[in-house]
Amino acid sequence: MTIVSEAVQYSREEIEKILHPLVREWFFSKFQDFSESQKFGVMNIHNKQNILISAPTGGGKTLTAFLSILNQLVSLSEKNKLEKKVYCIYVSPLKALNNDIHKNLIEPLEEINELAKSKGINLQKILVGLRTGDTTASEKAKMVKNPPHILITTPESLAIVLTTKKFVESFQDVEYCIIDEIHSLGNKRGSFLSLNVERLNSIAKTIPVKIGLSATIEPLEEVAKYLVGIAEDRKVKIAKVHSHKKLDLDVLIPTANLILENKPHIHMYRLIHDLVKEHKTTLIFTNTRSATERIVNYLKDKFPVDYTDENIAAHHSSLSKGHRFAIEENLRQGNLKVVVCSTSLELGIDIGYIDLVILLGSPKASSRALQRVGRAGHKLHETAKGRFIVLDRDDLIECSVIQKEMYEARIDKIHFPKNALDVLSQTIFGMAISQHWKLEDLLNLIRKSYCYQKLTKEDFLSVISYLSGEYDLEKDKVYAKIWYDKDTKEIGKRGKLARVLYLTNLGTIPEESFVTVKLQTGEKIGVIDESFMNRMHKGDVFVLGGSKYAYLYTKGMNLTVKPAPDRNPTIPSWFSETLPLSFDSALEISKFRKEMRKRFEKNLDKEKIKEFIRKYTYTSMEVSEEIYEYFYQQFHFSEIPDIDTITIEKYTDERDDKKYILVNSMYGRRVNDALSRALAYLMGAKGSAKRDVEVGISDRGFYLSSENTKIEKAFEQINSKNIEEILKQAIEKTDVLTKKFRHCATRGLMILRTYKGATKSIKKQQMKSHFLISSVKKISKEFPILKEAKREVLEDLMDIESTKLVLDWINSGKVKLSYNHVKLPSPFSLNLILQGHLDLMKIEDKQDFLQRMHKVYIQEIARRQDPEEFSYEEFLKDQER
């Protein structure tokens, strides 16, 4: 199978030798020496070796990839041997490619041309073509007639050109395929691209050389395999370029005491303002779009002299393209003092000089934190300055530990979805449009993709059955998408609309629409998923941003609420799909907890412990004081949960007699999601009577609330072998599954966003998906799109693999379960109730529930009439008479 090896560095002299004199002269007119990634990359690419280059931002990766290719094209063009075909395809998941490409490709080309002219050398024109979702029809037509030598594109547009006959012809001699920003492809878009790259491989006469560019990422070996695919004859080298950027990090708290301070936000803005004043250009990362707007507005409001529309801006993905470009341009020009963004400026768009990055709230993973802070001091050898600002004690510990991981260069691991059947359905549909395929050849091609190497024949055939309409009840195959001949085992295009359908519906990014939540005063609180609003009723209470609100009314895309601090939430709140804490960082936090616990158990004095905190997490006096206090309270209240101990508190809320089980399991939300639902399901289903269980899930643990509180038994029943089966049953009736099913049905083209010229609103898609899923369930539990939705919930949304690991730890005794009955939740547990993402595990059958409630009703009536004498059994007998 694919062989991975380490790349070697070449010397300046060796690289110089292979460069065309023009390219060499141009290069040294711009740079003094080759960068580290160039020393790894240029020669290897020149020698047609596949290579993955992992380097921190600012390492000159993009130019590394292009240099050898430019070199080859310049040589050809001087000899007048440049042909009318595509030599190189560059794929990037970024929408805003223009600037990067301009800097790293167009400019060098122009400058080399100038240089050639000045020397009287005649070069053929090297064409660069940009093909993205924004490319106009006339530009596309031009490109087909006159193919660019270097095609710049996105994963989606690549799929489109691979389905365009004329384009495909000019792809037969593609020599290079560059994939940029691989670290951002740990999702279905990555699966989608890997399949389409295999399509490209099958079209090209010789498999193009793959060049992968990535920010710091782990595990490199897997990413390298992702890049080149899986086959006997494939080899890939890895170049790991270390960062020489110094990190200057700190965790800041805006006020001396996070618990006592009523309005920490005011102090936070003050602190931000002070930091901004001390620096030239500051980039602020928040985790949500609404927070982005809120911060900009507040700063403008409170410091009108300092902030105007000219020097402060918000940047996030729901802004228009033009607006975003303008902000990026202003940043590069150095016109802006502050830019506040959600995640949109994380990736490698060139944004000019930034001297400070502020992280508001936890970035949830060390790799993301590094990526963000790396935006400061863009040049490779400068110092990257980053400041975490936290308002909450759990966040404080989290950020301090992440800071430790950053300083110690520990990176969390990327996860590529495997065997996604929805993406597979879409791709097979697209492939069938261009040509006839023998099933065997098709399966072989698909299995070369890293993401589908272990695809089973059964799953593959069930996708074929689905696409060819075999599940169609009416047996008339009205909705079949491909033609399939069972005798010859061949598939192909079906219907005149196939191409249009594919081109207008391809892609993997699910559409979401959001509703703004406001108070009666008009104050904006945040946003929620539109589909979530559709399920709400007047008077419902839900959690948003840690506070509780009651639903009043909606008007258009606005939802008006009032604060309801004393009421319990009445509905789940899975809507806020905030970033989950990485498993690796969560374990780091648990290790830190263990260290703290040991010190408290040894009765070490306060100053010693504080000193330990400062050294261990590289934090300040103030921070160590705050962290100390938090642990002190937890230790004296009950017990500090740590890497060897999960603490479980049982607690009854006296206000409404609601019973809670609070589980401090620091494994990140993806594991807690799986663990809590499986346990809830066992408790609900295996008790004396089936009852629904409310679950609240967070990064640090979870809570369960139900009539049955025997979680001990559920823990005994569950293990790494049966969890998958239990979870599959457990999620059967959840909203999460319905939501993911809608996404999968859209990707798998069961729901067409665009059909017969009309584009459907998400609201419409959502409304129908409830019904769609129940109709699918009736047909077959193995229906590929349903199976995929379950896989996505278990493997991508949740983390079943790490959950199995945790269960093995529990069953082997490596991790102990420690139970406590408490009158009040411990300090660590309090936020589990407040911040948990609520959902309800529907376990009791709807009909059984109706009968049970009817008995309750009858008892209630009878009690009112005659409280002493009534017996339900007699009542029933009476009924039968």
Binding site: H537, K756, F771, K778, L840
Partner: protein, 247 residues
């Protein structure tokens, strides 16, 4: 429950209303063609509404015929879904009527016009209302003077797709069910039949809004004093007054 219903001359059989003495079966909104509408929007719905509807009705008719005589079937309106004419729907409806004709003679199948029923059939008449003895049947969107004639004691409607949300005490579990609403208004006994259409459960009274599509005969507040009969898989359960139930 059954005893109670007998004294009132009617009984609930699953989602339908039956008058044993008169042998009349009243069926709520069918909305045939809803499935093809979804499919037309580019959604691969693996569901055949016509066949499913026929299957369900077949079971109900069998249950009735085991005990009573079935003489007449009244479709309470909104038999098809689209407001405008749609070929597939009308053909589905014809198919459905042929199916009913196997159980009762054609002249004993009465069609009431609903707000969705914008079509004509050569062999069937669409009625605004239908009166048999002291019972009047109408869709429930429009009022007719004839309904309030002295001889009329009971008025049967559909149209609003009544449904009820049932919650447990601690508000953890909530489920929606189709229901019948029975109560007095303008000195007549009203029986509101739930939609037969199985794709959605229906609408709670609190969800009724102002506006044309929610127009109906009885004021919202009045409806809250109606008795609720909830449709379960095996039985129909009496849950008392609608208003009290919701709290």
């Amino acid at each position: 429950m059954k005893r109670e219903n007998k004294s009132k001359d009617f009984t609930f059989i699953s989602k339908t209303l039956f008058f044993p003495k008169k042998g009349i079966l009243a069926i709520g909104d069918l909305h045939l063609g809803y499935d093809s509408m979804i499919k037309d929007q580019g959604i691969n719905l693996l569901f055949n509404q016509l066949e499913e509807t026929k299957k369900e009705i077949e079971i109900i008719i069998k249950r009735i015929k085991a005990i009573y005589r079935l003489k007449k079937i009244i479709l309470l309106g909104d038999m098809k879904h689209h407001f405008h004419f749609q070929k597939q729907e009308v053909s589905d409806l014809r198919n459905f009527l042929r199916f009913l004709e196997k159980h009762v003679p054609k002249e004993d199948i009465i069609l009431i016009r609903g707000n969705h029923d914008t079509f004509t059939l050569s062999d069937y008449k669409l009625n605004d209302f239908y009166i048999e003895g002291d019972i009047a049947f109408t869709h429930g969107e429009k009022d007719f003077l004839e309904l309030y004639d002295k001889q009329i004691k009971t008025i049967v409607t559909s149209h609003v797709h009544p449904a009820v949300l049932i919650c447990d005490k601690i508000n953890i579990k909530r489920e929606k069910y189709k229901c019948f609403l029975v109560g007095k208004y303008k000195k007549k006994q009203f029986i509101i039949v739930p939609s037969f259409f199985s794709i959605t459960e229906g609408t709670e009274i609190s969800e009724y809004k102002k506006g044309e599509s929610y127009q109906q005969l009885i004021p919202k507040n009045k409806l809250k004093s109606f008795e609720t009969y909830v449709v379960g898989r095996d039985d129909v359960y009496h849950f008392g007054k609608y208003g009290k139930l919701i709290g």
